[in-house]
């Protein structure tokens, strides 16, 4: 042992003494049991987008030319888009509950809803929201990547808009639009998803233009933390996650609160005990259509009448309808799928309204939870003889909005949808279910015990399958 070593040997001694104290301190230090993960870990990193102002050079005469310019650098982008439902408007072959055979695919391209009813034969207006150009050609060529509309999602919405058949709106400066491209903002998604059904918040109720500049009491994610749609609807190869019961029958590729949050994150054990039975949305979205009303009923049978028009109650082209603000959702068991989906040509329900997409799930199903829905109730045209719904042609030549003549509009629509029209039509009641999942409220605004468990609370316990309020009668008994 060198002299030097000896001289500093005491340091090791001191170290030993300190370790004797420090090691038990570190090992036995009282820790809180909580091991909560940080929800921020679930968010994608926001990368500064490179400005394309000096990269893109025009001039561009058509949207397709813009796409070609994009593809010079982003070679795979258009090909990626063509493999997404934003482009195909239809799913992979799928089994539809309530039907025997596997169908080729469902989506906006072939499903009937109870708003403007169906896209075939209405391409001029409906395809304004397709991520491609030029749907006037029929059949549409889904392989033609030049038709992919990059600008719809990536251009500044102040500089770009889509028009008939999905083509750029007249008067758009395509060069300016192309130079403005960036990561999609809420405005890009909102262009179609806020205004679906023909106006602000008509369809969803929980997605509307108020989310462009939301307060934290409108939506805690977008309002308090300035989330973008793509923070939750995370996207890989242009495939945007998210699933909607109106056009899907399962919850594949779905976005969930638990992607970032733990289900048992509440301080309160009593609330955590709810999460196996109650979806997050149920408490954290007490009501929707907070700023702008949403359409809750639509009676097509009065369309064409000459009555005084009002945007929120009656339009000659559409008939009577009701809008509701601060809409109180209806609560149903929901396991992410549907128990049935009305397909074009299906017979109407034998009695009562025809449920186009009733959510599946029941009190006896462990995976089902109580979930809030907007239910849209409509009277829409059907073939009295064949007993199925008829999609009318609305806009365009011979469309109902021009002629106000049901038989001819229905004949055109039936033909485009491959249906026989007997010539006799009536109006049938249909219900459509819209899961409520945006406009999430901070905990201060979430539902409280008494909202459901007091007399006259929000839940119809017996309809949900309970003998009475589970606070007194006990919860469901299913194997988790």
């Amino acid at each position: 042992m060198s002299e030097m070593m000896k001289r500093y040997l005491w340091v090791f001694g001191l170290l030993g003494v300190v370790l004797v104290i420090a090691i038990p301190a570190v090992i036995f230090w009282p820790r809180s049991a909580s091991t909560a993960t940080d929800p921020w870990d679930g968010l994608p990193a926001h990368v500064e987008h490179t400005s394309h102002a000096n990269i893109v050079e025009g001039p561009f005469a058509t949207g397709q030319e813009v796409t070609q310019a994009c593809l010079e650098c982003h070679e795979d982008a258009a090909d990626e888009v063509t493999h997404t439902v934003h482009w195909t408007w239809q799913s992979d072959p799928v089994e539809i509950p309530g039907h025997d055979n596997v169908v080729e695919g469902i989506g906006k391209i072939n499903l009937i809803n109870n708003f403007c009813i169906a896209t075939p034969s209405n391409e001029r207006t409906c395809m304004t929201c397709h991520t491609g150009y030029g749907w006037e050609e029929k059949p549409y060529d889904f392989e033609k990547t030049d038709n992919v509309d990059c600008l719809a999602c990536h251009a500044d919405t102040a500089l770009y808009a889509k028009g008939e058949y999905g083509n750029p709106a007249e008067g758009v400066d395509l060069l300016a639009a192309a130079q403005s491209v960036r990561n999609p903002g809420r405005d890009n998604c909102g262009k179609c998803h806020f205004d679906g059904g023909g106006g602000n918040n008509v369809k969803h109720g929980d997605l509307d233009e108020s989310l462009l500049f939301p307060s934290e009491n409108l939506d805690v994610h977008m309002g308090r933390y300035d989330f973008l749609c793509t923070d939750c609807h995370q996207t890989e190869d242009h495939n945007i996650s998210g699933r909607m019961l109106s056009v899907s029958v399962d919850d594949e590729n779905q976005v969930a609160c638990t992607d970032c949050h733990e289900a048992d994150l509440h301080d309160d054990e009593r609330i955590n005990a709810h999460t196996a039975t109650v979806a997050c949305q149920t408490c954290h979205i007490p009501s929707i259509a907070l700023k702008n009303p949403t359409k809750v009923t639509w009676d097509w049978s009065t369309a064409g009448q000459d009555k005084p028009e009002d945007h929120y109650t009656f339009l000659k082209i559409k008939g009577d309808f009701l809008y509701e603000k601060d809409y109180q959702p209806e609560y149903l068991w929901y396991d992410g799928g549907v128990s049935y989906r009305y397909l074009t040509g299906d017979q109407l329900a034998a009695d009562g309204p025809t449920l186009l997409n009733p959510p599946s799930g029941s009190i006896d199903e462990a995976g089902a939870r109580i979930f809030p829905f907007k239910v849209h109730r409509a009277e829409q045209p059907y073939d009295v003889v064949n007993n199925y719904l008829l999609p009318p042609t609305t806009s365009g030549e011979g469309g109902f909005w021009t002629t106000f003549d049901w038989p001819s509009a229905l004949e055109l629509g039936a033909e485009a949808n491959g249906l026989e029209f007997s010539g006799e039509y009536g109006f049938a009641e249909t219900w459509m279910y819209w899961p409520t999942t945006h406009m999430v409220q901070p905990k201060e605004n979430a539902l409280q015990c008494e909202d459901c468990h007091a007399d006259n609370g929000l839940m119809d316990w017996e309809a949900l399958g309970y003998p009475g309020d589970p606070i007194e009668w006990g919860g469901r008994n299913v194997q988790q």
């Binding site: 005491w10 001694g13 300190v18 301190a25 809180s32 909580s34 301080d267 201060e444 007091a454």
Partner: protein, 918 residues
Amino acid sequence: MRAMQRHFSFRLFSIALVLLLAVVAMTLGGANAAAQSGEEPAAPLTSLHPVFALRDATGANVLESGQPVSTMQTCGACHDTEFIAGHSFHADLGLADFTAPGTTSSGRAWDTSNGLFGKWDPLTYRYLTPDGDERLDLSTAEWLMLLGPRVAGGGPATTARAGEPLTALAPDAANPETSLLHADGAVTAWDWNESGVAEMDCFLCHLDQPDHAARTAALAAGDFGWASTATLAATGIVTKTADGWQWNAAAFDAGGELLPQNVRVQDPTNANCAQCHGIVHTETDTPLTFAGCDLDNPQTATTGQVISPQKISESGANIAGKSDLARAWDVHAERQLACTDCHYAVNNPAHAQEADDTRPSHLLYDPRRLDIAEYLERPDHNFARGQSAQYTVAPELKDTMRRCESCHSTESHADWLPYVDRHMSVLSCESCHIPRLYAPAVEQVDWTVLEPDGSGVVTCRGVDDPQSGVDALIEGYTPVLLMRENIDGEQRLAPYNLISSWYWVYDDADGNARPVRQVDLEAAWFDGESYAPELLALFDADDDGELSATELRLDSDAKTAAVAERLAGLGLANPRIEAEVQSYSVNHNVARGEWATRDCQSCHHDEAATPLQLAGYMPGGVVPAMVGGANIAASGTIQPGADGTLFFQPEPEQAGVYIFGRDRVSWVDWLGLATFLGVLALVTVHAGLRLYVAWRRPRHEPETQRVYMYDAYERFWHWLQTIAIILLLFTGLVIHRPDMLGMFNFRNIVWVHNMLALILLLNAALALFYHLTSGAIQQFIPRPYGFFDRAILQTKFYLYSIFKGEPHPMEKTRSQKLNPLQQVTYFGLLNVLLPLQIVTGALMWGVQQWPQVAAMAGGLPVLAPLHTLVAWLFASFIVAHVYLTTTGPTVLTDIKAMVTGWEDVEVHAYPGAQTEQA
């Protein structure tokens, strides 16, 4: 078949009647509350109760007799109403234990019972006059008129004090049970047969829309017999007309029974209880608003408790910092508990508890109990109650209720609260879980003066201006913690509001002390409608002809004397001011964990237990005393504050509670600090002298020799103990004075302190083992032979020789390291101080594990100061110890030796010493 048809046509007829009634009701408009809710279609039937006929006191159908409904007859057709009225403190209100004045536990000379009937309350002031008193204040009849809103009927409203029916008493102005005092002082007889009596009013608590206001009006008017009928005023069954109450035949079926939709009988809801007790707000869609301190809501006015599931932040009250209070007023209301879930009928089979002491020990459960039918016939209307400060009320029911700990486990605290059991043994759950009340409560009641309307002056706490109504800024208040004595003898700190009262007392003709009657006060203060001129002149400092809030006070002897003189002028002997403090227990408005008090320094801090203001001024300078009969132990003092205010200073130490960081024994600290500073001063002077001497006469370096003095284990043991002790002293100081060292987390510091103590203990035990087995222990044992001589020699060395540069008188060798003074010091240190510190520390740590052991040693109030004192002595020892290491051949020699093991010892040394060369 025919029966069915008849049934069907009967139903048609009923429906037609209902429709007709609805139309009539709507046309009549406001006359009928059914019309007010008449916009809705017929409400769904909520009651399972069968239909029944309303009967008068003779048992006849009221439709035929037109007489007031008798609940005893009506409900008594199926339920045992006699049993119910006889088993209900809500009916009895103290009648059963009505006694001679001055013999109750309150200590007041004039109280006659423990309940509303006979226990005087300075908030309502009027005194229920016992038989034989000189002056009549409240007769039984006027008591019922005045306190009717809080009287459920039955008991003293039907029965005389001696037990006979009130209707059996002959009208007699001389009898306080059958008379009435008028505003002018005249007394007239009261005829109970004419007024009727107020039977126990089943409707008040069992209807979904009882008309409390109409009932109160009937009682106030002396129409006692019609009170239960008035309760039905909102149902449409009966209507008040100019001629009196008219039964509506349309509300009944052809058989004279109520139509099903008019049978709105139900279990009592929170709203039913709220009518008499305090603010309850269940309509969470409507923001709650209230005007503070309204004595019509006694529970809220006396404590600030509001029962509502609504979030405080959502309420309409103007509460400071409201937006941050996103929690319900009451977590139990939020969680859908009703009043009756805790305060249930004591024989309700759904809730009833089986007393452990009535069950044979071999049985875990006794299945023989009331079935529901038996219960419904004879439901005991004594309701389970806790053991709060309104202690004297229904004493036989004390502790019949499930308390917090009967339903809740304390285990949930374990992940953050150290010493859970200890905390639970000192604190009631409410102490932390009712951190603050957000409605105003009464602070002071002054009946020594009268407002122009003839009432006393009421001051509220928790609100900036109680006079300004709903727009006043409510700050709320933090209740004061008093030591509550539970039935089982256990004591827990629990939150209370304290209400102070000042009032005039006189001696009546029989020499009995009585509160001065309000009618006499008015006669003394007023001439006609306005203040007596001589009093106005005396009190009206700014001569504006009115008495402002600050002027209307007895703040000088002259004013007190002037009022006393006017009272004496009314024939009141020896008028004098008395004052008292009543404690009101706070048990509702519980907040869940995240809102509860959970900051250690709320209690473990020098300034914890902040005083509660009792009064803004002291009328007549009289200092109040606590009213007796409350189950609170002495745990504070009433102290005058600045500007004539009065405070209650909580002093939990009075009740034997020692709170680390708050409590300390000052002489211990002063003595310890003096010792520490004394030693410090001594060594400083000594060191100064040594430096001076060294400077004047450089000391010749003694010849030294390297000796291996301390082996590795000794050094390890020494330094581990050094670090542990220094850190223990420091962490102990943080625990002792967290106010001075607030940057440290109290909870973690306590944990570190305990862990270090364990290390010190293990180290000491291992060192003892080492010294015993190696025989080195002998070094620490003073040898009697020549000990004193050597000790004197060593002392002389430190006092004189050291300055002369003389060598140490003792040889320091490996086997004899300690000089006699060290031996005696370590002997004391290791045999007295260290064991004492370990034992007191372990016992204090053990208050969680084995509290009874600590209690046997005197508990924390003994252990903690002792521990502190020894800690000071250890600190002082360290100063001397470190200084004395500098007295070796060089200043650092001894410290180096303890680091390296090798010491340079002076060479008259021990021949056999192991040298470095060896």
